[in-house]
Symmetry: C2
Subunit: 449 residues, 2 copies
């Protein structure tokens, strides 16, 4: 049913390119879906990929270009002259064209824009002004609009002309004489309406959801998810319709956001692709490692200050990693849940107090189970006092970590700091150090040292 890329297929294509057997290349590739062709190009070297690329129709070239892996696309674009880049951009939707333009240096941008037709160039220059992470940065200027005073038959003619430019039509936007968005029209209703009806009479004016150009792209994703939209109109400060955002672009935002939270929880501070350079990858991970290092040194200071205690009861040292690790684990669990519920917006009116209360109960329950287990084990392996010390400290550390893991992201969110910062190494490190302190204090009390 779907095309599956195999090593044999790639070998065949590579061979065909090498011996200039273009008939085979055309036969094998031209009928495939753009996403599949892109997958093939991703695997070829730049020279081979270029051969295949220029055998595609112009329209297909544009579609394939946007499906390439980012790295491959950048390498490919870099190998083109400004005139060639300009040709490619003119076949793309404006949101895609501006993305590619945005990846070039300022000087290259100027060179490419100089090679484009005036209208297209002006449009792209406008779009370049928007921040990449806003509705303006995501939107495309290809959409279909009808005036509310047009009759259906005129609208069909006008829209047919507009539709040639627009790849996927989901909704027709209805504007007034000032280009302000007043409603929308489904293709369905247009298809089934009588020719003389005015568009204004069949368009839907209730609950017309739109987003302003300046809205953060994560917010846009939330709006589209909440209202189940496949496309959303973008309006300027004057309420004029200026573009639309389609769901496929927003799916990418949603995925990137989820990936970012996951990476932060794993101690990776910037978004890195798995194919980024060693140096970039190292740099993205180093900040959290240094925090971990600092935590370890603080931990060493804490343990050092209890050197005589350890001298008196060496077995206390055995359980240092257990106490440290459990505090970290519980803290990460609590914070992950809070971060996700903030990200998904599930906690609109849920008060902070009730969340903290629930985490306290969960901590109580899990802390109790773990403490009883560890008491039995240390009691068998060592003695009652050590058993009591370890289990009471473990219980305290778990309770504390659950509270801390819940409160920190909530507080960060309150002060508009990304709560995902709180997950992962930060929570782990703080809980490690505090857990050790609690552990030795309880040890001193119970052993009466």
């Amino acid at each position: 049913m779907q095309f599956e890329l195999t090593k044999e297929f790639l070998d065949e294509i590579r061979l065909a390119i090498d011996v200039n057997d273009f008939a085979t290349v055309d036969e094998r590739i031209l009928d495939l879906h753009e996403a599949d062709i892109a997958d093939i190009l991703d695997e070829l070297n730049n020279a081979q990929a270029k051969v295949v690329y220029y055998r595609l129709s112009e329209e297909l070239q544009a579609d394939v270009l946007m499906e390439l892996e980012e790295e491959v696309r950048e390498r490919f674009i870099k190998s083109l002259t400004p005139t060639q880049i300009a040709e490619q951009l003119e076949n793309l939707d404006s949101d895609d064209a501006v993305d590619i333009l945005g990846e070039l240096s300022q000087r290259e941008q100027v060179e490419v824009i100089a090679e484009m037709e005036d209208d297209d160039a002006a449009e792209l220059v406008d779009l370049l002004n928007y921040d990449e992470d806003t509705a303006g940065g995501l939107m495309q200027t290809e959409y279909i609009q009808a005036r509310e005073n047009w009759p259906v038959n005129r609208a069909v003619i006008e829209l047919r002309r507009q539709a040639e430019e627009v790849d996927k039509v989901y909704t027709i936007y209805v504007v007034d004489a000032m280009d302000r968005l007043v409603g929308f029209l489904s293709l369905k209703s247009l298809l089934f309406a009588s020719p003389k009806t005015a568009i204004g009479d069949i368009c839907i004016r209730k609950n017309v959801i739109s987003v302003p150009t300046g809205m953060d792209s994560e917010e846009v994703a939330k709006v589209m998810e909440k209202y189940n939209l496949v496309s959303v109109p973008v309006v300027s400060l004057q309420k004029k319709l200026v573009g639309r955002i389609t769901i496929d672009d927003v799916v990418d935002v949603i995925k990137e956001e989820a990936d970012k939270d996951f990476q932060m929880a794993s101690g990776i501070s910037e978004k890195v692709e798995s194919n980024a350079s060693v140096w970039r990858t190292s740099r993205a991970r180093l900040p959290w490692l240094l925090i971990g290092l600092l935590g370890g040194i603080l931990g060493a200071q804490v343990i050092g200050s209890f050197e005589t205690t350890i001298g008196a009861v060496p077995a206390l040292a055995f359980f240092i990693p257990l106490i440290a690790a459990m505090g970290g684990n519980v803290g990460v669990q609590s914070s992950a849940i809070v971060v996700q519920s903030i990200a998904n917006g599930t906690s609109q009116f849920g008060s902070i107090l009730s969340k903290v209360g629930k985490e306290a109960l969960v901590g109580l329950l899990n802390g109790f189970i773990c403490s009883v287990l560890i008491f039995l084990i240390t009691f068998v392996l060592e003695d009652v006092t050590l058993g009591l010390t370890v289990s009471i400290s473990l219980f305290t550390v778990i309770m504390f970590a659950a509270m801390f893991g819940t409160l920190v992201p909530l507080v960060l969110d309150k002060y508009k700091i990304d709560p995902a910062l709180a997950t992962g190494p930060f929570i782990t490190t703080v809980n490690d150090v505090l857990g050790l302190f609690i552990y030795f204090m309880i040890g001193i009390m119970l052993y009466g040292i």
Copy 2:
């Protein structure tokens, strides 16, 4: 532009319900978007929510029902009689109706189905057979189809009739005389074609992407993402068209999948909502805590076996948490990147060897930086031998953790086990224990104990 739910608004609605002021309720609520009405109902108690719900039109009731939070919807459905539930289900799309039916007990399902019209009931009974996590479980039976031999004008009449049942029309599926999917037709091309053309002549037969009923829902999400689809047709084993899946259902799958990976990395073993009960939440977190506990006990055994070493050089004990924590941190970082690249399918032909090689380089670089830093600090705080012991062990542990964190998820994936299992507590725990062992062995060598 969009409705914003405030405490004042809720108070006003609650008061209006309490004094039976339905005019105010209607005025405030009836014109809102279904998603906003659902947000309001989520905040009301069951009795109040019911009052508002039954003031909505039947169609709006169905839309609002699907936008409620799962917990609120379940509570609400439980408070209805089988006849009332049957009425609600008949207004829903089949995929939503079957989701709600699936949440009921077998006995309740039978009672509700007995109250429904025969056709609707038969359809739902069919859909109930599909596993929830497959294409069959996600699909709805509301879609629009045209026969390839119909002329456009007949198709418009037929489709108008079908369209009454279907909420959002993205694509018209074209089938042959045996109901087998042969192509698709955009509303755009239908709108702009001449009346006598046969559907078969204007439909697109190239790259018709469809999914089989048995395909895993994550796979469906990947197909829709890859090919940028807003809806995908579902076909039976006989290639007959049986349903369609729309992007909004798949966005949920993508989000759930990302959430699940994040939760696994944070040591939460089953999917839990932030509003799940204390007991369920505890149970979801306990397995990883017990693994952590086991790791701690193994760690205690390792340290215990080096008791004489610690007796000779007590300062060695100070850096136990540092070594354990850093191994864990690095392992989690490496595994997170690998798990994400597997999940996103970015590593089709990337060989395992090149990934491991890259992680080794990153480990080398970060290990080197961290080791130099820790050597300088321990050298200042303590002495050269301790400095060398800690820094050499740290370097070894980081290198090892980077390798281990990369290999384990790759190996798990090779054996079709969810690689996300490898992230979080498992990697941390193993690296903790091994890190300690490496640390003390190096200590013994350098101190010549």
